[in-house]
Amino acid sequence: MKNVQKILNAILSKNVFEYLLLDRRYRIVQFSAEIESFLGTEKQIEVGDSIFEFLPELVGSEEKMQKVFDGEKSSFAITTVSKNDRYINLYVDHFDEKNLLILLQDITEITKIRQKALQYSNQTTLLTETLKKIINSQNAMIFLANTENRIEFANQKFLEYFNVDAQEILKKDLELYRKMGPGFQSYEEMHRAISEGMKELNIGEDVFLVEAMHIDPANILFTLSKMTELARQRKELQEEVAYDQLTQVYRKKIFDDKACELLKSDQPFAIAVVDIDNFKQINDRYGHLVGDDVLRSFAKLLRREIDGKGEVARWGGEEFLLLIYTDSEKEAVELCEKIRRTIAEKRFDPVPELTASCGVTMRRGDENLETLLARADKALYRAKGEGKNRVVYIPPVD
């Protein structure tokens, strides 16, 4: 009675239910008038036909149907079945001890809407998967951080480098920005530094080329391209360019750059030109290889003596330049005098005796480097003229 009521209710509520009644041998004993057009059957349904001929969806459900017959189970359903260009729900209900009721509900309209939503969702998932693959295939570390210091996404390279998994990184603020560069307080601060011109970032021993951009007001996309090896090679190259190969002191160009930097500021300093006395005779007597050894030892001595007080450069041949950070001409002259004495006392085997002359001057006012060098050179010339192995100071002209 309950089931008859169900049929009636369904029809009255216009839910488009069709129905079939089956016996225990799964033969059709009764059916609704529109069932054939509903199912789109080629053959006319007749009492006594097997239900599996018209509803193969029930093949495999014999055990369940038996339980419904026996009252062990009151009903079961096979939902969202595509059939005859429509979608149906198939309900198998207990009717009485001899019969099963099969109700067919048309759910085409709602299912087509669901299908559109599912199609859109699946296509979006596919697109997301593809984008992830593209991002993960990149050599750079890529991550998206929000303004609340949370990482919203990080690619595989990033996760591997920081040894975190994709879920862990989303959970909380791991403060990874503290490990980057000078130790930032937030990703926003890091972004600001990059916007203001920071191009490279150090993480431990590694160097990264870094880029950042707001992709929307709340999210910043960072790209970190590892360039540790490149940075090392660049440093080597810079050193090769900066240092004189034979003596390992600065080349004249670097000396000029450093002196010009000081000239731009108000910082006082002295310049000295140091020249080995009678160096040509050493080359002539002992050969150029010995001459080179002497230059190396001489430069080493200068480096040691000037250490922390200034810079040493080779001007050319046996002539060296000293940049002395001092505001006292007395201190500059004393340092040069000490260097001269140390040279005179040191043995430069196989040369029995070696001396050097030195011309010193102080920076004053807005003089340029050429003027300073010319004055120091003049002082050196005077030291040579006065018998060598001495320090001559020429003060700046007022």
């Binding site: 193969p56 969806e57 495999g60 055990e63 939902t79 979608y87 669901r114 299908q115």
Partner: protein, 158 residues
């Protein structure tokens, strides 16, 4: 005639519907239309002198947020587990589909289809490691489709 219910299981967009369409109607379309719910196709075939009618259940694929409903699995004699060769995660997902299928049908058998092999260059296909009863298939180029279904029927028969 022996009637058997078989299922095609796998993640969404791996080509389950296309494999059935190729096998049943010998047709193929590049258009992607997501399967929702289930659609049953019939196919009569003879394997080793035995006549069969296959009821092939094309079941909505699993998505990251929705697994395949096991209510469709009841009474299935076998399943074809389908993966997309261009999406490694769909191959990894096959084990879980197999587990869920066997939980409902412990005595049933499975074969696997690594589908869309037409998208893999010929020279790279040899390098693909294939577990037992796994076929490189293409619904588009009709590669191994009949063999796939017939192998499943043989496994069911044995």
């Amino acid at each position: 005639m022996i009637r058997k219910k078989i299922l095609l299981l796998g993640d969404f967009h791996v080509g389950k519907t296309s494999l059935i369409r190729r096998y049943v109607d010998n047709a193929f379309s590049d258009d992607y239309l997501t399967t929702i719910g289930v659609k049953i196709s019939k196919k009569a075939l003879t394997v080793d002198a035995m006549d069969y009618e296959l009821l092939i259940w094309d079941i909505e694929g699993a998505t990251p947020v929705k697994k395949i409903p096991t209510r469709y699995f009841a009474g299935a004699a076998g399943a074809i587990l389908v993966a997309d060769l261009t999406r490694p995660e769909t191959i990894e997902g096959l084990s879980e589909h197999a587990l869920r299928f066997h939980a409902v049908n412990p005595k049933s058998v499975c074969v696997r289809a690594y589908n869309k092999v037409d998208l893999i260059p010929e020279e790279s296909r040899k390098e693909i490691e294939l577990p037992p009863d796994t076929f490189l298939t293409s619904a588009k180029d009709n590669i191994n489709v009949v063999r796939l279904f017939e192998t499943l029927v043989r496994r069911i028969a044995s």
